[in-house]
Symmetry: D2
Subunit: 441 residues, 4 copies
């Protein structure tokens, strides 16, 4: 009976309480960069196979050409490192080159397909060694110098494994198929999601639930059932001109620095769009070598964050227009690379309302929100858009958690008590759709 | 005998002394803009026909499509004005539309062809009414409000008529053909010279002498026998974007003001050329209408002055590149009109030396210079380049004259005593080539 | 009984139906610019005095130094014109110099003070002569060439006179004081409102109701009871440099054009503010005279429209900073004049709800809105802010009217059937506060 | 007899032929950066002391605060390296901190003071290891990886030691005092010359002769007796703003990247100066860190090269003005450091003519030039200006030498046969002033 779904989920979640903490701490220790999460992915694969899920990895899971910024050199370095440390290095053989996504599937007879999205990458932050910082004090600080799970993705991995175990336990009550999608490289919206979506893994999904711990849900026991993220895209523009001796032959130079400077000024001068706020930033520029030589090379990194689907095409068109014309101003070649991207996707208020009713029946869920606005981009929106375009439903839920300090800081930590609550809520959302109440429509 | 040429010329010139002054004052009174010199041209034609010269006018004299900036509306207004005032309006019928150049020719038997260039246009300056200003005090101030012969072109016209009369008187001593070329629209290098050159009138010229009173030759009795002017080109760029209500639909605008502003900055930032100094100036900009509307139209006027033939192509290429790319920065259409142009043409030191010897034999010529550098553009360089490209010789001479104040000022005036000296010098330069010393080579 | 207020108001309004149309058409014919509304103001004064109101005009009504952009020359021209046409020119003697506001007051015994704001200026638009355009066809097209009531302010004047007459008729039911405030120069937020507020006329007001016909309320019979306008400010920046001959002495120039161009680019590049959307536009620029002279003078007009009180200080500080620094870039003096300004003032939802209940009881009011967002600035917000700062309440109501074409177009016209509905609604809002239900609190 | 001076000099020079080559090769091997020439200076000191010269070093030789760009960290690294390798490390104790200049003096009785300037620093160029490159083939390639004598300063050191030895040999023929000034850090005009001049060592000099091998004198046996170098100055501008999260709080950022971009554009837009050509280049820019953060730091390196003393003040004033105002545009702090500087100093044609007569009497001097124009800056002009301002004479001579490839290239090499010719010429120029022909005036 569907009325029992939340109770079943709650029991299945709380039974794993200690295991969830242990799992989280293990993954916290092996923080890895985006497209380099080899040890992490191996750990996920091992656990899911044990639970009887069909696991897809490597280029079967991802179309890497659809990603934006795979770091070729770094991914090889981290691959070697992982291969040397793993007991079963064969687990990552298929992932070489950055294909670190993992898709686990389990069929519980006829019924709808429900998918969950979890992200697995860490951040280039040196984790605090302060004894007030729990991971330091309790001995699970990152072993990878300069890299840290400072956004809670270690918790997301853990939630996914908890849901997998709970559904395994509740398999008699599940009808249909569940997909657990672990994506690399969420930070910077570098295209981990796009690479998985491009492979078609989401095209048969009836309901996609993406998840984050914390953010604006910063109390343990709170839950938000829909979230609207900003759209974003990021570019690197490279300007290639011609060097010249500025005394003997200044006229033969083609000045990449002035091209990039004009690009920066005119990008920032892009006019407002009536359908919503946006922020554009040229965040980095390097150009030239020394005073006596016309700067022959320049590079700018810029990003845009916006809050409406209609503004997106306008902003992108203008950015491309400005950068190319700025090169032409000084006879300079321009190469424009998309380095990150996630569309603006609005929350589905009807779905959110449905999930809110589920949340309200979970013990220990103290407060719920239907839809929240998040001032950030999220790679998951790529998947949400894909699912919706194929006729499915998609939402983004926040699992509330008290935070030790802000996301992306060296002392970030979340409240591990939120893990069983999150597992219960996510399991119950799956059962809301594929539980005993399900009937073929 | 050639040794007598200077004496003959001197006598022929000084005999006209009073007539030269009267002529100059008559033309001073009827100052007219470039391509609008109808009354002026009619006066020139009448006098030259009386002296027995063959006169060519209108589109027989000029290829107007080769000019840069014929002011369509103004030229019609001045045509009507002149037609209403002239006793013989039929004299200007052929000139309608701006073809106000006059070419007078006289053949004195076999021999070389010597041409003189005189310019005839006035300036948009309100002439001083101060009684210290001779034209005001002596009653020959400009009758055309807002227009004034403030650069001495009234004197140039007079020099040309004086040479015509002197050669008529000395026809027994002349061998070959003389051409007196009166060009409109020298100021701003708007293409009066180009329109005459395009018609081929200079292609058979063996020696071209262009003339100016004053400039750096600011003492009566001095003479410079060669002058190097700067090259110059001028453009008007018109940017056409799209207006938009900046609150309701700013994203639909295409901003011509920002395009023009970027053009101005990047034009000024054009890199140095090793072969010589140049100055570039965006001298005027207008854009847009009011705060609440995206500026849909902008216009800039800019010019470049340079001192080397090799720099010219570089500068022009860069200007064109910058203006078009600046439009593209904001998705704005660009129209670029050449509004003025005169090439850099170096003085011919050997010819200058020859003429210096002539000058030194003229009574009342107190000092001579061989070659001077003039920091300005000159439309005559178009003709000089044409003559040289056809195998002829060309020079630019300065007839020294004490000046009441600087060129292009409301109290500009020159010393009328310089007129007979100029006529003598110019007549003698013609005789140096086509006088009794001439023998078929 | 308060329950009857709407019926009383409705009767008093519909009784004036024909007079309202005649009044509106009379004022439509004499469209005048902001700070030049002499004939208009004289007409208002005459009618209000007839109805027994105390009328304040001229510098008793306005502190002109608090306005931003009084057009000195134009206001004198329009004064002379009006003086020549009026039967009683003494009516405008006190207004000379632009003080064309009118404040009419009537005391109906003890009670609260309720004020209404009406604007009276026209727009620089040539009114359509098309026979499909009702004012043209029915003979009340603007007699002032190039100026037109294209925003409905003629209707606002009429509403005010209708309210004055209705309250006069209902004086037995009114308790307290009513103030009818007619402000000049609303268009461009040039400071007509500020000049009246500065005089203190609003400091004792308990309830201020500002009014507009149409806008988003584009159906006759609809009413909006609160409106949030954008904040706005407008500046004219004048850059004064030094001219120079760009060939002889370019280094002595100080380039106002490049200063203004840098200002334009960097103004447009002002970073986003998290508290709300804004649009900034440099809408007009003029600079320099001709190619050969360093531009010594430049002028830009720019405006900002924003949607949050917190963004205002940030935007203003940055604008001032950019303009002054842009002058300093080229050693150019900067003069910055505020030419228009109106703060962001949010609607009062509680007051709006109260008025909505009033509106719903007016016959012929078919639909009501509580609060609408208007994407424009409004000079009335200056008055609303003043009233609130003195402890009073303020709102902005829209009187719905079918429109022939958009505001600020040559064929703009509104449905005159909206006039009695508007008079009824406004009169009823006054009675809601100062009617029979009033008791001293 | 003065007539014998050149013969004496020639004999004294050719006698050292082999020693000169060995000396040059030794110094070539130990190429060191500017202000780091410790081994080099130690070698110079040892040889000069052996020849009986009074040697001044360290802060007695240099006022380091007058230099522009002493590299604090690097100079310490090179000091340690040199100290470890030298047999007599006490020779460099006084030089620590970058004071690597050496001044050697010898008095030959009463008479004028003649000084020579030699520069001793190397360039950040990896020397070619190609066997066609003589230093590689013959085993005297630079031992300091990444640093190379690629401009011939090893030859200059050698010329100086050769002159010292020749004058020692000819001491009976010398009257007065000779000063050999060895300056560090000529490359980049970083102020080695200024630091020595500031100490007053040049204030009693009657004749200063600065020297360079090669440049436009690229044939062995040619000599140029005067050279006019360009003036130059170089700056590093550092912009310090405020970082901000560009989504959450863009308005709190102060954008150093846009400040630097505006500086770059407006520096390049500095107007022409009538007194001569110049080239300005912003050669390097770095700004910001990543897309999501307002760039809080930016740095630009720029330089100007000019050809007239009058343009210098104008250019410097405008550069300073632009950089500071560009910071103010974005509320960003600016730090402007002079990193290099050398004034424009014209050759002395009369002195050059005198030296040309000397040169023409030296055997093996095949061709002479009086004055050449060098399109580059030279630190020595600081010294020349100082000597002239104290009433002395100064010139810059080029000792011709066939070159293997261009200056500042990895295969640069000069013809060692030019060394004795140079020693002879320089010795003879000293004797021209202080030789037997000298008489107290």
């Amino acid at each position: 009976m569907i009325d029992q779904a939340e109770t079943l989920a709650w029991d299945a979640a709380t039974g794993q309480r200690e295991r969830l903490v242990a799992t989280r701490r293990m993954f916290h220790r092996i923080a890895e960069p985006g497209f380099c999460e080899y040890q992490t992915a191996a750990g996920i694969v091992e656990r899911l196979q044990t639970l009887g899920y069909d696991v897809t990895t490597g280029t079967d899971a991802m179309e890497l050409s659809a990603a934006h910024s795979v770091p070729e050199h770094d991914t090889e370095v981290w691959f070697e490192r992982a291969a040397a440390r793993l007991e079963r290095p064969e687990l990552i053989a298929s992932m070489r080159g950055g294909a670190t996504g993992v898709i686990a599937q389990r069929r519980f007879g006829p019924g709808p397909t429900v998918a969950f999205r979890f992200d697995i990458d860490a951040l280039p932050i040196q984790e605090s060694a302060d004894q007030l910082h729990t991971p330091a004090r309790e001995g699970f600080r990152s072993e990878h110098d300069g890299w840290m799970h400072a956004c809670g993705h270690d918790g997301h991995i853990t939630l996914g494994l908890g849901v997998a175990a709970a559904l395994d336990e509740l398999s008699d009550h599940a009808h249909g198929t569940v997909k657990l999608v672990y994506q690399p490289a969420e930070e910077g919206t570098k295209g981990g999601a796009a690479a998985i979506a491009a492979k078609g893994h989401l095209d048969d999904v009836d309901l996609l639930i993406a998840t984050h711990l914390g953010l604006s849900a910063d109390r343990t026991g709170s839950v938000a059932c829909g979230a609207t993220f900003m759209g974003t895209f990021k570019y690197r523009a490279t300007f290639t001109g011609m060097p010249a001796h500025v005394v003997l032959a200044p006229h033969t130079g083609r000045n990449a620095l002035l091209a990039a400077a004009s690009a920066a000024l005119n990008l920032h001068a892009i006019a407002a769009h009536p359908d919503g706020w946006f922020s554009l930033n040229v965040g980095r520029m390097t150009a030239g070598t020394e005073q006596g030589v016309t700067p022959a090379r320049a590079e700018i990194d810029f990003g845009v964050w916006y809050q409406s689907a209609t503004a997106q095409d306008y902003l992108r068109r203008r950015c491309i227009e400005v950068v190319h014309a700025a090169g032409a101003l000084h006879g300079v070649d321009v190469d424009l690379q998309l380095t990150g991207e996630a569309p603006y996707v609005e929350a589905d208020p009807i779905l959110a309302e449905r999930l809110e009713r589920v949340a309200q029946r979970i013990p220990d869920v103290g407060s719920t929100a239907r839809v929240v606005i998040c001032k950030a981009g999220e790679d998951a929106t790529v998947m949400m858009e894909r699912v919706r375009s194929c006729g499915g439903e998609a939402t983004y839920v926040l699992v509330g958690s008290a935070l030790a300090s802000g996301h992306h800081t060296p002392t970030f930590d979340f409240d591990e008590a939120s893990l069983p609550i999150g597992v219960a809520f996510l399991t119950a959302t799956a059962l809301e759709r594929m539980g005993d109440g399900w009937t073929e429509s």
